[in-house]
């Protein structure tokens, strides 16, 4: 899920979270695909941000792994090293 401002919204994007107005009423449910007319309507209703499905751009993997090594520089105990290993595998999954 990514949060975008209304001017970045494009037809075809899918809403990942419902849109709520100032009084707390749901005006568009999650799962709806955006259209030109819907985007215009939302802009007129002063909706500034919305959540759409998708992934944002990630920093280069090599950089992320290098920084991880740097952060764990002072670690040599087995427990925290296990956390490090779990995190490395987590990063591998994110970049898959």
């Amino acid at each position: 899920m990514i949060k975008i401002s209304i001017d970045k919204a494009k037809p075809g994007m899918k809403l990942a979270q419902e849109i709520i107005n100032d009084t707390g009423m749901i005006i568009v449910p999650a799962g709806i695909e955006l259209t030109h007319s819907l985007i215009d309507k939302l802009a007129r209703m002063n909706i500034d941000f919305l959540y759409v499905e998708g992934k944002r751009q990630l920093p280069p993997k090599e950089e992320v792994l290098r920084e991880l090594e740097e952060r764990f520089k002072k670690i040599n105990d087995p427990q925290t090293l296990l956390i490090k290993q779990a995190l490395k595998e987590h990063f591998e999954e994110i970049y898959k």
């Binding site: 899920m1 952060r71 520089k73 002072k74 427990q79 956390i83 490090k84 995190l87 999954e93 994110i94």
Partner: protein, 278 residues
């Protein structure tokens, strides 16, 4: 400097010119040990900025409540008095964090998310309270910034060159760490021990005797946030996890991976929600 000098100055923090007015106002209300839920609720409701910040927080992925919480009264029903008091402090130190230590707010939010996830996995009765304790675990840093800005900034800057942990350098300079400073103000503000103990002992979790598990969770949440590289807390290097915490929580490799995985979305989206304004 020694701990006594530091605490004497912090004791009178409400009178320091550097304290933001919103925080001063809130402290005036919550320091009263007999303050009622209604009084706090009325106070928050009378301040639109504060109301907006509280509602934004409780509706954010940090808490992950289903549906929308649209009033302060509703938030209070769900969170309870203690968590709400903590949250009030949390949202009101936001500006100090943003002005003085960019990244501390993100570090705090992320720790709150990990704490909620871990507390839920451990079946604790109120994950929100632990989450608030984690949100406030570094409140001592904000206090040190308000009370000793120049000295503290120098200490923070030396972390990288000296390759040390921030709390060690604090101890050498002030004779006290941000954790103990945080615990001290939390006590002064009449926070319950369930919040005070984890804040006070998040770097020395073995000292917690009443809320061992809560302290262990905040200790680990801080380490997971540092490990994942979210925000900036003044520390550059990951602190080693305390062995007694590790044994108490009894997590396996797969559990830790699941926790990282589960926290990923709430961390990214809350970062954007809170970065966009205020």
């Amino acid at each position: 400097m020694n701990a006594k000098v530091v605490l004497e100055k912090i004791e009178k923090i409400e009178n320091l010119p550097t304290i933001p007015s919103i925080l001063r106002k809130i402290l005036g209300i919550i320091e009263d040990p007999k303050v009622s839920l209604q009084k706090i609720s009325d106070f928050v409701a009378s301040d639109p900025t504060l109301t907006a910040r509280i509602l934004k927080m409780v509706n954010s992925p940090v808490y992950g409540f289903p549906g929308r919480i649209s009033s302060v009264n509703h938030a209070m029903l769900i969170l309870g008095l203690n968590a709400l008091k903590g949250l009030l402090i949390g949202v009101s130190v936001f500006e100090v964090m943003k002005k003085n230590m960019v990244g501390l707010w993100e570090h705090s939010l992320s720790s709150a998310i990990y704490a909620r996830i871990i507390a839920t996995r451990k079946n604790l009765s109120s994950p929100e309270e632990i989450s608030v304790a984690a949100l406030l675990h570094d409140i001592g840093k904000v206090i040190l910034l308000i009370a000793f800005k120049e000295d503290y900034e120098k200490i923070i800057q030396s972390v990288m060159a000296k390759e040390r942990f921030l709390h060690e350098l604090e101890n050498e300079y002030f004779g006290i760490t941000h954790a103990e400073v945080g615990g001290f103000v939390a006590k002064k503000w009449n926070f319950p021990l369930k919040l005070t103990e984890p804040i006070m002992n998040h770097h020395r979790p073995q000292l917690s005797k009443n809320f061992e598990l809560e302290t262990a969770i905040v200790h680990l949440s801080n380490i997971l946030t540092l490990s994942r590289g979210i925000g900036y807390s003044g520390d550059i290097f990951v602190n080693p996890v305390n062995v007694s915490v590790w044994n108490l929580l009894d997590f396996k490799y797969e559990d830790i991976k699941d926790i990282f995985r589960e926290a990923e979305d709430p961390i990214t989206s809350s970062k954007e929600i809170f970065a966009s304004d205020e």
